[in-house]
């Protein structure tokens, strides 16, 4: 089932949680809402669920306006970060809850409930825990039970609020693979909120990157990773080198130094710009007689793993220190014969340049 939100605004006192957000979640997709804390992603999820009311805007579920529908009637499955299992009920009763509170006319027979709950517990691979109480389960097991409970009422959409946020790293990894697999079996339209970029990129069909109550970019994990649309997305996803400077005919002028870039659209000469390059998109050159590139000093070399990580420092004219990070193949590192303290030139193989609006200066 498809979900659309139109022009959603939400204000908490003087804080704007959502500022005119419009999104379209196609049927059957698993979408991640990704962003730093306070970006409005959880608020948006709760508005879609009906747990929160938007100040203005509409929520459309399967083509019909659900803005005024109570959470009870929206038929959404909601999974909370801290599980929200009913402690006084066994695992079985937790999963059966949604079926047992149905009006008498719609309520399945106790036999049918038993079959359904057993099936769901099998689906989450925890049927052997049916008689336990939530306090006797591990965090990962609790979250799987919470998911089974949400699925019991056959929701039209599944909404997950930081579902793996309270789990340790190993269980997180396991569970997100499992969630992906489960989604491939059920094909229920799902939205999950996370601040963990790795989680979003690994699990989701599409990623919505949010910042300060607005949508920064929507796209496949590959698209947001390889072609970030805004400076925010660039700096939020993965580690990145950031350069401030002025545009100058196909090159970036930083203080008295120049580096070439490949801007998509022409930039006004002399305009303030901000440029990004990922660590693997920077190269190091030890030949200081060439002018192209940025002078920097090696501060640390980590030569383990598949690539070597080199940390560098660069001083600008105002004596502010900028930190940079370069990833090089190990053989390249050996060929360069780098050592800590050495002066080198940084030359980007790829440099993404954005005109710098005033708002981004603060970011």
């Amino acid at each position: 089932m498809s979900i659309e939100v139109h022009h959603i605004r939400k204000q908490f006192g003087s804080f704007t949680a959502l500022d005119d957000v419009s999104l379209d979640f196609p049927s059957g997709e698993l979408v991640a809402l990704l962003g730093p804390s306070g970006c409005g992603k959880t608020t948006l999820l709760r508005i879609i669920a009906g747990l929160e009311q938007a100040d203005s805007g509409r929520v459309i579920l399967e083509g019909s306006d659900a803005s005024a529908t109570h959470v009870r009637e929206r038929q959404v499955g909601f999974v909370f970060q801290h599980y929200a299992l009913f402690r006084h009920m066994s695992v079985f009763d937790n999963v059966a809850f949604g079926l047992r509170v149905k009006p008498r006319a719609e309520r399945p027979s106790e036999d049918a409930i038993r079959r359904k709950v057993t099936d769901l517990l099998k689906l989450v691979q925890l049927d052997w825990l049916a008689d336990r109480f939530p306090s006797q389960l591990s965090g990962g097991q609790r979250q799987r039970i919470a998911l089974a409970r949400a699925l019991a009422v056959e929701p039209r959409v599944l909404l997950l609020d930081e579902p793996f946020g309270a789990l340790d790293a190993k269980v997180r990894k396991e569970l997100r693979r499992w969630l992906r697999k489960l989604h491939d079996e059920l094909h229920i339209t799902s939205i999950f909120v996370t601040h963990d970029q790795e989680e979003a990129l690994e699990v989701a069909d599409r990623v919505v990157v949010m910042n300060r109550g607005q949508v920064e970019q929507i796209g496949s994990p590959e698209a947001v990773w390889h072609a970030p649309a805004t400076p925010f997305v660039y700096s939020f996803l993965g580690s990145v080198n950031r350069f401030h400077g002025h545009a100058d005919a196909g090159a970036l002028q930083i203080d008295a130094q120049r580096i070439a870039h490949d801007a998509d659209e022409p930039l006004a000469a002399g305009a303030e710009v901000i440029a990004f390059a990922r660590p693997h998109e920077l190269d190091i050159d030890t030949d200081l007689s060439v002018l192209e590139g940025l002078r920097a000093r090696v501060t640390r070399i980590q030569a383990f793993g598949l690539t070597a990580r080199i940390e560098l420092e660069r001083n600008d004219l105002e004596d502010t220190v900028h930190h940079h990070e370069v990833e090089l193949p190990l053989d390249r590192l050996v060929a360069l014969q780098l050592s800590v303290g050495r002066e080198v030139r940084l030359t980007p193989s790829r440099l993404k340049v954005f005109a710098e609006p005033a708002a981004n200066l603060a970011a």
């Binding site: 009870r72 929206r74 909601f78 909370f80 929200a84 009913f86 006084h88 949604g98 109480f133 949400a150």
Partner: protein, 280 residues
Amino acid sequence: MATLAHKPFRVLPGFRLTLGYTLLYLSLLVLIPLSAVFIKTASGGWEHFWNSISSPRVLASFGLSFGASLAAAAINSVFGLLLAWSLVRYRFPGRKLVDSLVDLPFALPTAVAGIALTAIYAPKGWIGSLAASHDIRIAFTPWGVLIALIFIGLPFVVRTVQPVLEDLEVELEEAAASLGAARWQIFRHVIFPTLLPALLTGFALAFARAVGEYGSVIFIAGNIPLVSEIAPLMIVTKLEQFDYAGATSIAAVMLVVSFVLLLIINSLQAWSARRIGRSA
């Protein structure tokens, strides 16, 4: 090593000392005085004991004391829960004031409470005169006893339920709502079972307090034989007649009945607490 092997290892030291202290303290303050009640009772002989507790006046006072105490504790459970709910869930002007008013029955000397209640509920008092115009008498009847016991038991339920309500995660209610539960179903199946252990504790405390209450009751009760005499009053009456064995006989019965009732309530409480996974 040899000694460590058969002595269970404990992280905190002083187990023997604290246990010994606890037992000594309890013995000096609770067990020895209470056992004196039974020893004194025994000194009067079986027949005197039986005669003391089976006279109609005493039986009526037992009925009133335990009946009114249970009723008062039950009423306090309902309204104490309501009060705690409003104090925790809503923000209204004067909330802090109401919150501290709840403790007043704790602090007030019971005789003051008794006099105040009598003044209001007596046939010439504000509420008493209103009731009297409808031919209802409150003071000097068992109803008066009930009102006094409700008054002094009020803080117990509020104060035991309040912290549990405050800790109740809103997410539980949201989860239940998203699963399609109506408001009353959320209360019945999610909130109430979580509150039940605290509610039972509050009930037990309010009941225990009400059974032993004397000062606030004797003024409003009017102490009419067979109608509005409470068991503690019967004990005092016997004492005034220098019938010590008779007084302790009544006291012994009250002790045993109270103990049994509290034991039942506490096991109920422990059972419901286990169900919500507190001690599991």
